[in-house]
């Protein structure tokens, strides 16, 4: 210690004081507020302050020292809004705890979940289309989820396509019949015939 310490009675008293529990606690708190205390002792400091209002006041004064040194005090001076804030949050019916659900409070996770649901819907819809109707739900007894049956509306666009093709082939067939030419379109016609309806009725 230098001369300055011995000049001040109160300073000497403070520095020469024996280490008791309060002093040890305050030393740990000083290190903790600087982020230099971790583990079990840090937990003890946090718990100690939760339990003791005078230690919370000491915490506030330690921070006040830093605020004055950094010129962080507002022009209106020192205030304590902590009690007013506490009174207000005590009115809240419940403390805003983080939900135990893993996704709660994580917007990105909710977004991912929504994307997965959307992807599932699209996938199920694609399975239900006529082109991929080979998926035989009945053949999979382990399938428990309800599977929507494709409606007429779902397949209507495909039917319209085949009707158009059929009409085209009919016209050609009729033209061939009229001119007596060999039916070069017949292979295509037979394909369309198997897909849509018999064309034998219009064949000669």
């Amino acid at each position: 210690m230098n001369d300055k310490t011995t000049q001040s009675g109160s300073t000497k008293q403070q520095l020469g004081q024996s280490i008791d529990t309060d002093t040890e606690f305050a030393a740990d708190m000083s290190a903790w507020m600087d982020g230099e205390l971790t583990g079990g002792r840090a937990r003890l400091v946090a718990q100690g302050m939760t339990a003791d209002a005078s230690r919370r006041s000491q915490w506030a004064r330690y921070h006040l020292i830093g605020d004055v040194l950094r010129d962080n005090l507002p022009a209106s001076g020192i205030v304590d809004i902590a009690s007013a804030v506490r009174a207000e949050i005590d009115k809240d019916e419940s403390t805003p705890r983080v939900s135990r659900m893993p996704l709660a409070g994580h917007p990105r996770a909710w977004g991912l979940a929504a994307s997965l649901i959307l992807a599932s819907v699209i996938l199920v819809n694609s399975w239900q289309r006529p082109g991929s109707s080979t998926v035989d739900v009945a053949a999979r007894p382990d399938t428990t989820a309800p599977v929507a049956v494709a409606t007429a509306a779902d397949v209507e666009p495909d039917r319209a396509d085949t009707s158009e093709l059929d009409q085209y082939l009919r016209n050609h067939t009729l033209a061939l019949v009229d001119t007596g030419e060999p039916a070069r379109m017949l292979p295509y016609l037979s394909m369309a015939e198997s897909a849509v309806e018999p064309v034998s009725a219009i064949a000669p």
Binding site: A31, A46, L64, I65, L73, A75, R97
Partner: protein, 195 residues
């Protein structure tokens, strides 16, 4: 080590687990900084205090959604700035002499209550006394304690950096900082009216 943000993170986790007192520690730590920040937008001191209080309450209610991607104080300052901007916008939209300011009994009560403890000569005197006490206590500190405190509080150095600068063990830095704070605190406790 040396990351004061880790303390905030610890306190935030405690609040998220239901410890309201941990939030009280965060308010006591940041209240002056938040009021000073808000005062850049809201010039009236009473309003600035109200806005700061509202910002803390909003932060408390939003804490379950705070994931710690950014530092707590960055997140808190963002809330404070938005609250201040909203206050200014609402004030600009309101009629100049609104009934709610003076014509309503409840508002009169609030207004007089605020006058009693904010921006009064007593409050300013207290602030001056606190400032003088702290600065003179720092002046009276032994050189090694004062240097450690200044390197930590003004320069924001970690204990390890201070130890290198002062050529002493980290444990000595820890001890010097505590003794410096404790000595100043002993003087602060003598001031009447300071909690």
């Amino acid at each position: 080590m040396g990351d004061a943000g880790a303390v905030d993170q610890d306190l935030v986790k405690r609040v998220q687990r239901g410890d309201k007192t941990a939030f009280d520690l965060l308010v006591r730590k940041y209240q002056h900084k938040v009021i000073k920040l808000v005062s850049r937008y809201v010039y009236d001191p009473s309003d600035a205090h109200d806005v700061a209080q509202e910002a803390f309450i909003k932060a408390y209610r939003a804490l379950p959604g705070f994931r710690g991607d950014s530092a707590f104080y960055t997140w808190l300052y963002r809330i404070a700035i938005n609250t201040a901007k909203n206050h200014v916008a609402a004030r600009n939209r309101a009629p100049v002499s609104s009934v709610s300011e003076f014509g309503n009994e409840d508002s009169e009560v609030d207004f007089s209550a605020r006058l009693s403890d904010i921006d009064t000569p007593e409050a300013l005197l207290l602030t001056d006394e606190v400032r003088r006490t702290i600065l003179s206590a720092i002046d009276a500190l032994p050189q090694d304690l004062r240097t450690a405190l200044i390197l930590r509080e003004i320069e924001g150095m970690s204990y390890e950096e201070i130890a290198k600068t002062m050529e002493c063990p980290v444990g000595t830095v820890r001890s010097r900082l505590f003794r410096a704070r404790d000595t100043i605190d002993a003087e602060l406790k003598k001031i009447e009216g300071l909690t």
